[in-house]
Symmetry: C2
Subunit: 348 residues, 2 copies
DNA sequence: CTGAGTGTTTAAACCGGTTTAGATGGTCAC
DNA sequence: GTGACCATCTAAACCGGTTTAAACACTCAG
């Protein structure tokens, strides 16, 4: 009796009205006398009644939940600073709204389409966030054909039926290059993320064109995979060049911090012998030695904006415009400095 | 027509049977002729019908989802290596099972009880994972009173109605201390996590008692907060002691890596002047310089085991026993070594 | 006094599944 | 021919909400 959760019928009985009246009252719909509404609300309070999300979902055909599919293998995922903060941002919007966030981690290499289909077909979510966009991303087509609303994190190339939330990586990357140029560096290399990802190539293209603007060519561009292990490998290759770089720009902090370790292990002093810059401004960036010059984005704000935008879309508020967030900005710390004198001499 | 998702009624019509028959067939229940079952399955395949999770949830009173409430502020959360891997482990069990993981991030300091209540009252999940256990954790009582099944990550003190999944932190911590003792260290300090957490005190108690076993006292035990910034602070205080430690054992890798940076910034060489050990074996631990001696747990396996256990409980398989995972083990890298000679001399 | 209009409330259908009592048809023994 | 029994299948109730057409009560104009 007191054990089972109360239903709307219990509330109706207690208030001496019909189920329908309770529904109207609790949803603030018009058509009920003020006194009745108050009586119903009082009854609901006394019974501590919360509407069952299951029943609501079924009758209004909404899940009251949004989905995030993360397509990464656990190792790669494990220390990505982006997602936890992004998720926290999403939650800050969903929580107060009575919505939930459904997470799905599909192991890289598996059939990721299945992950989205599971969420869509089962009707578990009303919309999904599309992160880590790839070139010609097949998921856009897939979601469109499933009729599942989505928001893309950054803009995909080609046409997309979905609104995008934009956080431009390029200005920050350009700032890094300019910062290094101002310090006097001329031999600068880049460790990029997997070229399949739009944000990886955006960063490396911004890097290359910023250098080109100064009439320079990269000493090297190493393709890597955003992992620490990959960062080490790429760094070793760059340092083994006949004319090694005096500065390396990494596409994320994990690779940069690992690269920092690799350089130090190789006996180089950072920043004296080698300047290093990252991307993300992850928590450790500030605290490693030397503090990492990097580019700071706002993943929490990104999550908030994405959640708000996706909700607009789901609620069918007509055309939902893209949202542009303030771009990521350079944060200068101790890992970058003027190149050592022999580097300077070469220039003069 | 072709737009709306097919329902069980569409399948029934197509197969020329009743809704009930379709339900029986698709759930492998007995009572249907083999030929009929095949006809129904064929019809379902042709229509690409997947049962609506919403309808199923309502009629069988199950959410087919498990919940994880993370009670941390975004900053602290953002680079914790535990959760992403743990979540991936959970997903590896839930995904193939057609279940979903519902995430809820409640900002530290807010009313976390509300987070659990939202999940429970709305019937969004069938059970929850209870992580970051605290001493006299109020959530146990709360969940018990809500009638919500739960699994605790590690064993709470006091009695708990819920099964626990255990991954003992202590043997690894003891191993770290023994390793340092064998290297010849006698002045060893500890940077602990917030004493409110069971796992934080478990680690610091294991540390203290391992030292005591060797007849030693800690040089210092600094309470900290698991963050990099906190690690820096604690390290500074330890290094400022009149008799500073020759080795510091940190309760997690983030503090350890930050401490490493702080020591280097202070002009100390690691491991020559100071040995440093962490806990977690996060991705970067291997790649910072010098590589961090730490303790490796298996958060992915932890997630798997927790999900399996919680599912058993939810399915009502009687008494669900606790599950004990292999304890976290020491991983020796370059950040620990014999103390420099003056430290040795003092001893001899 | 009738009818229209307004405000309030209810009964019942509906969402899409699962579950169960009972209908149906066939076989077999007596 | 009758009843028992089995295998197969269906109709209908049910889960707990939302939504809508219709019922009801009351006031007011004509």
């Amino acid at each position: 009796m007191s054990k089972a959760r109360p239903t709307i019928a219990d509330v109706a009985t207690r208030a001496g009205v019909s189920k329908g009246a309770v529904s109207l009252a609790l949803n603030g719909r018009p058509g009920l006398a003020q006194a009745t509404v108050e009586r119903i609300i009082a009854a609901a309070d006394e019974l501590r009644w919360r509407p069952s999300n299951r029943a609501r979902s079924l009758s209004v055909s909404k899940a009251f939940a949004l989905g995030l599919v993360i397509t990464r293998d656990p190792g790669v995922l494990s220390s990505d600073p982006f997602f936890p903060a992004f998720i926290a941002g999403v939650e800050s919007v969903l929580g107060p709204n009575g919505q939930a966030l459904v997470l799905q981690v599909v192991t890289a290499g598996e059939d990721e389409a299945a992950g989205y289909q599971r969420l869509a077909q089962a009707g578990r979510v009303d919309g999904v966030f599309l992160s880590d966009l790839r070139h010609d991303d097949p998921r856009i087509e897939l979601l469109a054909s499933l009729g599942m609303p989505a928001v893309t994190l950054n803009r995909p190339e080609g046409s997309s039926p979905f609104p995008a939330v934009l956080l431009d990586d390029r200005p920050g990357t350009v700032e890094v290059v300019q910062h290094l140029l101002e310090l006097g560096h001329r031999r600068i290399a880049h460790v990029a993320g997997p070229p399949a990802f739009v944000h990886a190539t955006a960063r490396s293209e911004a890097f290359t064109s910023a250098l080109a603007e100064a009439g320079l060519e990269p000493v090297g561009i190493e393709g890597s995979d955003f992992t620490a292990a990959g960062g080490i490998e790429a760094t070793r290759r760059l340092l083994a060049l006949p004319e090694p770089p005096t500065a390396i720009v990494y596409a994320n902090d994990r690779m940069a911090i690992a690269g920092l370790g690799a350089a130090q292990r190789a006996g180089l002093r950072v920043p004296d012998d080698l300047s290093i810059a990252g991307f993300d401004d992850s928590e450790l960036a500030e605290f490693v030695h030397p503090g990492l010059t990097t580019v700071r984005a706002d993943p929490f704000g990104f999550g908030e904006a994405a959640a708000r935008t996706l909700n607009q879309l789901v609620d069918g508020d007509g055309d939902v415009p893209d949202v542009e967030l303030p771009p990521a900005r350079l944060v200068i710390r101790r890992s970058t400095a003027a190149p050592a004198s022999h580097g300077m001499l070469e220039e003069s």
